[in-house]
């Protein structure tokens, strides 16, 4: 499951180069951090090559008022080209960025979003009001374009996090976007700033939600700091509702995420651990034991096993 991050980075690199992700699959050996660094460098090279074109366009600014920029772009400039040029033009005419963006349709901005130069996102993130970005963010989540959304999450400011948390109701969209975010420090920061209740709500929705949703929440919880993750882990794995926990376990088994379950079990207090143990039947217990591939996980397995009803733990001992 750690490969999710590498695959995400390969997919983003393929998008950038207009290639099929499968053709770049061998790059997996670079790891997520390696592909992330490579992608950023390739992106810089692509945007730098366009600099002179963008600066010519930028000189048109005095001729073309905002309303005309908006109308002309949406009528005859593909969102792909607008997205690429948007960063350079925005930097050159910062005073007009809000005016132009607020006149454009969220659908057009969502189309353009995946082509934006990542270098300008941290520059504009603190300058653009949340109300301007939220409709486009909602549109991306509605389209389930979590990959594009994840590129922007990386640069969210505390103010934007608070506003987005209030405005965006889609727990699954947030979790599946979060699972694709490369920088774990950003995930920690977001979950620290957002209301803690939200993580618990998200875990509860996941327990009743799609397999992709469950896997995303397991992945996020296992990456973030234990004190941030803990209330979500209690809700998802340490829940007294055995049926709900056993559904989560079945999904984890089918999606190769039992190792994460084992890691997260160490955050459960004894009574909560008991709920997880009670929901693990013999076959699930065997899968969990099989995933104990490190010293830490073997220790976690022993602890979980001791909390299991005699029947389940006895069988796996044979």
């Amino acid at each position: 499951m750690t490969d999710l991050l590498t695959c995400t980075q390969i997919e983003l690199l393929a998008d950038l180069l207009d290639a099929v992700p499968a053709s770049l699959a061998s790059l997996e050996h670079l790891g997520a951090a390696g592909v992330y660094a490579l992608r950023n460098r390739v992106s810089d090279a692509l945007f730098d090559s366009m600099a002179s074109t963008f600066s010519r366009v930028s000189k048109l600014a005095p001729l073309v008022p905002n309303a005309l920029v908006i109308a002309t772009a949406q009528k005859s400039v593909p969102a792909e080209v607008a997205g690429r040029a948007g960063g350079a033009l925005g930097l050159a005419h910062e005073d007009r960025a809000v005016g132009v963006l607020s006149g454009m349709k969220p659908a057009y901005l969502a189309d353009a979003a995946s082509y934006v130069d990542p270098r300008i996102i941290p520059h504009f993130a603190p300058k653009l009001p949340a109300r301007l970005l939220i409709p486009t963010a909602k549109e991306l989540l509605r389209r389930k374009d979590y990959l594009t959304a994840s590129r922007f999450v990386e640069f969210a400011t505390d103010e934007l996090i608070v506003e987005f948390e209030k405005a965006i109701d889609d727990d699954e969209g947030i979790a599946r976007t979060g699972a694709l975010v490369f920088r774990t420090d950003v995930l920690n920061q977001i979950l620290r700033v957002a209301r803690p209740k939200r993580l618990v709500r998200m875990a509860a929705s996941a327990a009743a939600g799609s397999a992709d949703f469950v896997v995303a929440v397991l992945s996020v919880l296992s990456r973030i700091e234990p004190d941030v993750a803990s209330p979500g882990v209690d809700e998802l794995l340490g829940n007294p509702n055995a049926e709900s926990v056993s559904r989560v376990l079945d999904i984890a088994v089918r999606h190769d995420a039992v190792g994460e379950v084992l890691d997260l079990s160490t955050l459960l207090a004894a009574d909560r651990l008991h709920h997880l143990a009670a929901a693990s039947d013999v076959s699930v217990a065997r899968q969990i034991e099989g995933s104990a591939d490190t010293a830490g996980r073997r220790k976690a397995w022993k602890r979980l096993q001791r909390a299991m009803p005699a029947a389940a733990s006895a069988k796996t001992d044979n």
Partner: protein
Amino acid sequence: MSVDVNPLLTELKEPREVLAQLSPEESSLLLGLLRTAIAKQHKRADRSLDDALKVLPRLIRPAARKILFGR
């Protein structure tokens, strides 16, 4: 002259520690994709500028054309 086994490293220089791990095949595949992508993006941008010029008000079109294409 010997064949460059890591043309992407030669072209981009950085991040050296990552680029150095590429196989010769990966390196030349990526450089090829990068060059194609650059060419394609230039073409698309130029075409969009042409199209955008056509929808600008007549009054500012000559000035805009001069700025964009110097003619």
